[in-house]
């Protein structure tokens, strides 16, 4: 009896300890973000940042655009079969554009970004840590938060919104290809229905705000996981996995909250 109670207490204690650990790591991540994002760009900051935009943004462009094209095409195909039942296939443009701009482009681009660029950021910073590059930078008297982390953070913040815009554009074009060129929706109604229902501020603007939030969260998680990992090969592979898992969950969860605030009338 007594041992059961002891057992239960030890379980509760363990739970509490895990909670404390999680909170502590969140706090560390917060301090980390504040220290690195606020850093004043140095003389070289600009070219370092440029290099990272190339790395996380330009190199992710292909996968994001191809995915956007296919998602736009699938949306048009699925939307058409549903809308045609109501004789409302001329609303196809509206459906494709709104689903892309409000939801799919920010979310899917962020998920792809986490997989393509986020994991690479984690692995790269983790490897720099494992090979003592970060420590040696510190010993040379250069703050790795500013030199290594800050350009990557800011590159992520800028790149994902651009990728999201690209995703939307290509997706809408893919919807046009399938809907208008293939299924024969009247071209004029594809565009005019879209134009009548899409608002620049409410739909495009909110979509971009979403993608900015996702950009901050995904890049933050990726860079922090890299910086905070255990510097062994196992630690790097674990941290890379954690980056993808945590950032995907964070993107989907935050998407619900943001959607509720932006479109749900909360």
């Amino acid at each position: 009896m007594q041992s059961n109670v002891k057992h239960a207490i030890s379980h509760v204690a363990q739970l509490g300890r895990k909670g404390c650990d999680a909170l502590e790591s969140l706090g560390r991540a917060g301090v980390f973000l504040a220290q690195s994002a606020v850093g004043v760009p140095s003389r070289e900051g600009w070219s370092l940042w440029l290099r990272q935009v190339h790395f996380v943004g330009v190199l992710s462009l292909a996968i994001v655009l191809v995915s956007g094209l296919f998602i736009g095409m699938v949306l048009a195909l699925q939307g058409y079969t549903i809308l045609v039942d109501f004789g409302a296939e001329q609303a196809l443009g509206q459906m494709v554009a709104l689903s892309l701009l409000r939801e799919l482009a920010p979310v899917v681009a962020a998920l792809l970004f986490a997989g393509r660029a986020g994991s690479a950021l984690t692995a790269e910073i983790g490897l720099m840590k494992a090979t003592e590059q970060l420590t040696s930078m510190e010993m040379i008297g250069v703050d790795p938060l500013r030199r290594v982390v800050a350009p990557r953070l800011w590159a992520g913040f800028i790149s994902l919104p651009i990728l999201t815009v690209g995703f939307s554009v290509v997706g809408i074009w893919g919807g046009y290809l399938v809907g208008v060129e293939w299924l024969g929706v009247f071209e004029g109604s594809y565009w005019s229905n879209m134009q009548a229902s899409v608002s620049f501020v409410n739909d495009i603007g909110n979509g971009i705000i979403k993608s900015l939030v996702f950009a901050v969260v995904v890049t933050w998680i990726a860079v922090f996981q890299g910086y905070d990992l255990v510097p062994t090969s196992e630690g790097i592979s674990r941290a890379t996995t954690r980056t993808v898992v945590y950032s995907s969950l964070a993107v989907l969860g935050l998407d619900f909250v943001l959607t509720a605030v932006m479109f749900g009338g909360l």
Binding site: H54, P161, V165, S168, M194, I204
Partner: protein
Amino acid sequence: MKRSKTMEFGVGLFMLAGILGLVFLGLRVSGMTLSAPSDTFRLEANFANIGSLKPRARVTMAGVTVGRVEAIELDTEWYDARVVLSLNSELAGQLSQDTTAAILTAGLLGEQYIGLSVGGAPEVLAEGDVIRDTQSALVLEELIQQFVSNMVTN
């Protein structure tokens, strides 16, 4: 050095593509126009019921889009809806006084828009004038109700 030049070029292209994409979304997808607001010609129309007409809905004439709904507000004098239309400026001084405005529906469940048709009066509408002859939106429930009550009385 050469590698970093091509990289810079790539990043520049990337940013430019982002801006162009945004312009495309603005112009083509959300239908913003770059023309200055002074290029429009404004009319007002009062409707007893606008149904689900939204600001920025199309205004058409013979099926051709000639403008947009700029604002919708409740007229507290008559308790009906006052709709402000902004039309292409080339229509200024072309529409006769007895022009009619009707709220139409695209398809069965599509969005609602305003259709204008010109009459034969010699006087023309000037900036800010009110269209007198309007036809409210068809509300599906009312239609069904009428239909049912007709059935019953017959």
